[in-house]
């Protein structure tokens, strides 16, 4: 190795180590931001080192330089703009989008390698084939996942006619494609077959999974992209890609398991799909159920205004209605009246871990008012009104009994509060598709409304009380 090459490779190795250190620091809230910054600086150094290496090797054509600069500015610019401007609540779909482009880029590297016409040995052919398949699946799969979360693709699990048979055929097709590429690496038909089968498989894999399972799916596809990048590293014999890719592949797998555990699912059951249907926008049952006590916004306003302590329990419905600002406003007004307002945050409320924290932070709810589940639960007994806004499963007392989909999940003890008000549109079910006996509890009043409209009405009513 020349001196430059040695230096550049050592920079790559140092950068890879910094990625590890960064990830390590991201395990704890206190050091997380610093960790990401270390990783970012290391990445910048590695990219600069790569540019130096390429310049010294002098293989790059002028056109190549132009292509590289334009590509980088174009892609990087879009990435930066979107990352800066997107709403906090849309971050999961953005991560999924970045997954897609990462996987796509990794697949393109292998495609390029196979189309230059240089002799290709077996190892390269195999890893290139794997790179294309994994990268391709990730590309379309992540796009579908992002689309589902963004509402462009229906969140409902779509049943593909003869889905299982289609998937078997697709898997057979890309496996055949890889074998074909190993035998005849320069064959364009083989390449196209592999690409096409992988891209279609990404769609048929993710489409039947319910929108609510998307965070787990995105995390899994994130691990896939890591593996695809590692494969690209084998193709290009670039150690830094192998290390970083394998690192992401492995840590992403562990993370996927942690996420699935946190919401009481197994990775397998997510992929097999079919659960998580409750996420649909339709209303399932009608409001006029006999045992249910409905209340009006004015009733609720009086209850809240004269309470001493109110605990708000936000859930997925708050995010769906984008009602965080209305909620924050209500909280402020009540606090000004001297009501002790807190927010009880269940770890898996919403549709991504930390969803409620992100949402309420966006609406500038003061951080100390947010109570983690363990902190909030003992408070309910001394709470006058528990205000449940679009939350369902995380309050369902059925979780304390065995034998149903939420069994064993720790819940917020909303039913210990002196009275409960629930704002949701209907008697519709939540993510787990269960009825919630909290709603038929005599001390619960149901306010059937969209969260945004309902909260605005209550706020208006509280204001008239004050005036």
């Amino acid at each position: 190795m020349t001196g430059t090459e040695t230096a550049v490779r050592l920079v790559f190795l140092a950068a890879a180590s910094c990625f590890v250190i960064g990830l390590h620091m991201m395990n704890s809230p206190r050091t997380a931001r610093r960790g990401n910054q270390i990783s970012m600086v290391a990445m910048a150094c590695a990219i600069v080192a790569a540019v130096v290496l390429i310049a010294v090797q002098g293989q790059m054509t002028v056109t190549g330089w132009i292509v590289a600069v334009c590509g980088f500015v174009f892609g990087g610019g879009i990435g930066l703009y979107v990352a800066r401007s997107v709403k906090m609540t849309a971050i999961p779909q953005l991560v999924s989008l970045f997954n897609a482009v990462g996987g796509g880029a990794a697949a393109l590297l292998a495609v390029h390698d196979l189309t230059t016409g240089r002799p290709v040995d077996t190892t390269v052919a195999v890893t290139a084939g794997l790179d294309i398949v994994i990268g391709g699946v990730t590309f379309t799969g992540s796009l579908i996942a992002a689309g589902k979360l963004q509402g462009i693709v229906s969140g409902r699990p779509a049943t593909i006619p003869a889905g299982r048979a289609v998937n078997v055929v697709l898997v057979a097709a890309f496996l055949a494609g890889i074998v074909w590429l190993v035998v005849d690496p320069s064959n364009r038909v083989a390449l196209l077959l592999t690409c096409a089968a992988a891209l279609v498989f990404g769609v048929t894999m993710v489409l039947p999974i319910g929108g609510a399972d998307m965070p787990v799916v995105i995390s899994l596809l994130n691990a896939f992209t890591g593996i695809a990048v590692a494969m690209a590293g084998f193709v290009l014999d670039a150690t830094v890609l192998i290390i970083a890719g394998a690192l992401v592949g492995a840590s992403g797998t562990i993370l996927t398991k942690l996420m699935a555990d946190a919401m009481n699912r197994s990775i397998m059951s997510v992929i097999v799909g079919g659960f998580g249907t409750g996420d649909s926008t339709g209303t399932v049952a009608v409001a006029g159920d006999a045992a249910v006590r409905t209340v009006t916004a004015d009733d609720v306003a009086i209850q809240l205004a004269y309470a001493q302590r109110v605990l708000v329990v936000p859930g997925y419905g708050l995010a769906a209605a984008q009602a965080q600002h209305e909620l924050a406003e209500l909280g402020t007004i009540l606090a000004e009246r001297g009501v002790d307002v807190g927010y009880a945050i269940h770890p898996v409320a919403g549709r991504m871990p930390g969803h409620m924290n992100v949402l309420l932070a966006e609406a500038n709810v003061p951080y100390p008012l947010l109570k983690e589940m363990d902190e909030a639960n003992p408070l309910f007994a001394q709470t006058d009104v528990a205000l449940v806004v679009g939350a369902n499963d995380v309050t369902n007392p059925a979780a304390r009994r065995p034998g149903n989909p939420v069994s064993g999940m720790p819940i917020l003890d909303v039913d210990h509060a002196k009275s409960v008000v629930v704002i949701k549109r209907s008697m519709g079910k939540g993510y787990a598709g269960l009825d919630n006996e909290l709603y038929t509890d005599p001390k619960t009043g149901m306010l059937f409304a969209d969260a945004k409209a309902g909260l605005a009405e209550i706020t208006a009513a509280v204001k008239t009380l004050v005036a």
């Binding site: 790559f12 590890v20 990830l23 991201m26 395990n27 997380a32 931001r33 790569a50 790059m60 054509t61 292509v67 590289a68 590509g71 892609g75 990435g79 930066l80 990352a83 800066r84 906090m88 970045f98 997954n99 482009v101 880029a105 590297l109 495609v111 390029h112 189309t115 230059t116 965070p215 994130n222 890591g226 990048v229 590692a230 690209a232 590293g233 084998f234 290009l236 014999d237 150690t239 890609l241 970083a244 394998a246 690192l247 992401v248 492995a250 562990i254 993370l255 942690l258 996420m259 946190a262 001493q308 302590r309 909280g331 001297g338 871990p353 930390g354 924290n357 003061p366 008012l369 001394q382």
Partner: protein, 112 residues
């Protein structure tokens, strides 16, 4: 097996082991930032894209190289930016909006 391939495999295996060990018990609020952070790291594929561009020749080659660089750059730049943005919210902001503070300081005082 060539020595290079063996080297690459060794590196891969060791990096996988590091990846398995590096994630420990993470609080649920950090799951999404951590996923996003790992996402940015696979943006390292941009280095591969640059290497490929240096060997690219002809319209097809340049087109592929352009898309590879653009997609990878989007991954790496956007990924780090959005992760950092998410992690901003972990700055404890005790005096963020003093107007709301009374509700907090009155803590357990009002309790029955």
């Amino acid at each position: 097996m060539s020595t290079e391939l063996f080297f690459d495999i060794t590196t891969f295996v060791l990096a996988v082991l590091v990846g398995f060990e590096v994630i420990s018990k993470v609080p649920a609020t950090l799951h999404t930032p951590l996923m996003s952070g790992a996402n940015s790291i696979h943006g390292v594929v941009v280095i591969g894209a640059l290497l490929v561009t240096s060997t690219a020749r002809g319209p097809l080659g340049y087109t592929i190289a352009f898309f590879a660089v653009a997609l990878a750059a989007m991954n790496v730049v956007g990924g780090y930016a959005v992760t950092d943005r998410m992690l901003e919210m972990f700055k404890a902001k005790p005096a963020a909006r003093p107007a709301d503070a009374p509700a907090d300081t009155s803590g357990n005082g009002h309790a029955s």
